[in-house]
């Protein structure tokens, strides 16, 4: 009888808010960063094999797909770092008030995009 009982709706009906959004993004970027490390490996390998092989990497990094990957990579890492800083404060026992979590959540999101733009434009990455 009991096994026939339905499960009430959960993620289908529950509202998202800043903190849950940052939390799931933290997870996703964590996995993403791990996978994207392969890209860094290619970068390093192309350096090891000299300037000619580096040219191939440069062609890739200057293409639209390459740029998408690199910008995404930078964002993903920055997001992870900022969100992790938020977690450090939590681990120390600070910043649990609802208002504070909202503000820090917005800061993580806005900060990740701002820093990505700053880094890409002004650091001369892979140019």
């Amino acid at each position: 009888m009991k096994d026939n009982n339905p499960i009430s709706p959960h993620i289908q009906v529950y509202n998202w808010h800043i903190s849950s959004l940052v939390s799931i993004s933290h997870r996703i970027t964590g996995v993403l960063n791990f996978v994207l490390l392969i890209l860094v490996c290619f970068w390093v390998i192309s350096l090891i094999f000299g300037s000619e092989s580096y040219q191939y990497f440069k062609i890739f990094s200057n293409s639209i797909v390459g740029k998408f990957f690199i910008i995404g990579f930078i964002w993903s890492y920055i997001f992870q770092i900022l969100s992790e800083i938020r977690h450090w404060f939590w681990d120390l026992g600070y910043g649990f008030e609802l208002k504070t979590t909202k503000i820090t959540g917005v800061l993580v999101i806005l900060g990740s995009f701002t820093l990505t733009i700053v880094l890409y434009l002004f650091n001369g990455v892979l140019v």
């Binding site: 499960i7 009430s8 709706p9 959960h10 529950y14 849950s20």
Partner: protein, 257 residues
């Protein structure tokens, strides 16, 4: 385990539509989750048109009105109607809360009412909380004190008493636990915010002599550390408590002891 979609027998169907019979001009649509264990059918969403001119302010009043005047078959738990007993905890407008303290004026558009999320439904808006109660029992929520003869008072300083503020007010309505995605996916092993807040309430009590044992018991990859500070619990608590902070306090005690 993580299961995003609902199992086959839990998929929602379109339900009945109860048209207004009062002729009121101030109508509101109320969508309510319905499941009748006697029919063997899937759960459905019934829609009621409710005359808001003659309805008091809270969501529970809306439900009472539906039960009294439109459809007596609807089932939900309620008792005190003043935010003290925790019976009428449910999911309203995508967020858990107590129907008796949630004003319907805060909800924009149709009023959507579901049972507390990710529970076995017993009937309509009534979810099965027996797992949560078992977990509550597992943290042994009572004072353990060898000097407690029952003849003298168990004294506590004002400062120590203040440590229980924000914890003792918990009414175990389960709004927090059933708002927590970690509890959705691992509710059989992870204790969840409500029970962990209660565990912390006894850990931090100066009169309790079992602190070390209590901490040891809760220090478990699944029981405690499935909390990833998603903050849904604190967001949902109708009493304005902070289960996430209580859980972090336990983690901190374990890390520093």
């Amino acid at each position: 385990m993580v299961q995003i979609s609902l199992p086959k027998n839990s998929k929602l169907q379109k339900g009945k539509y109860y048209k207004d019979k009062t002729g009121s001009k101030n109508l509101r649509k109320v969508n309510v989750y319905r499941w009748d264990p006697s029919t063997g059918e899937n759960p459905r969403i019934d829609t009621y048109e409710v005359d808001m001119d003659n309805c008091p302010t809270k969501v529970l009043d809306v439900l009472n009105k539906i039960k009294n005047e439109i459809d007596p078959s609807i089932a939900y738990r309620r008792s005190c109607a003043h935010g003290v007993c925790g019976s009428c905890a449910m999911n309203m407008d995508g967020k858990n809360g107590l129907a008796c303290t949630k004003p319907h004026s805060e909800i924009k558009g149709d009023i959507n009412i579901y049972p507390l999320p990710h529970l076995k439904v017993l009937k309509d808006l009534i979810g099965d909380l027996s797992t949560l109660y078992k977990q509550y029992e597992s943290v042994e929520p009572w004072l353990k004190n060898s000097n407690n003869s029952g003849k003298t008072e168990n004294l506590q300083s004002k400062e120590d008493r203040a440590k229980l503020d924000g914890l003792y007010e918990c009414i175990m309505c389960a709004c927090c636990s059933t708002a927590c995605p970690s509890y959705w996916w691992n509710g059989d092993k992870y204790l969840g915010p409500a029970v962990l807040l209660q565990a912390y309430r006894w850990i931090i009590d100066s009169r309790d002599e079992d602190r070390k044992e209590r901490l040891k018991k809760v220090a478990d990859e699944l029981k405690l550390y499935r909390c990833h500070t998603i903050m849904n619990c604190t967001n949902a608590c109708p009493k304005g408590l902070n289960p996430a902070k209580a859980i972090a306090s336990i983690k901190k005690m374990l890390a520093t002891s």
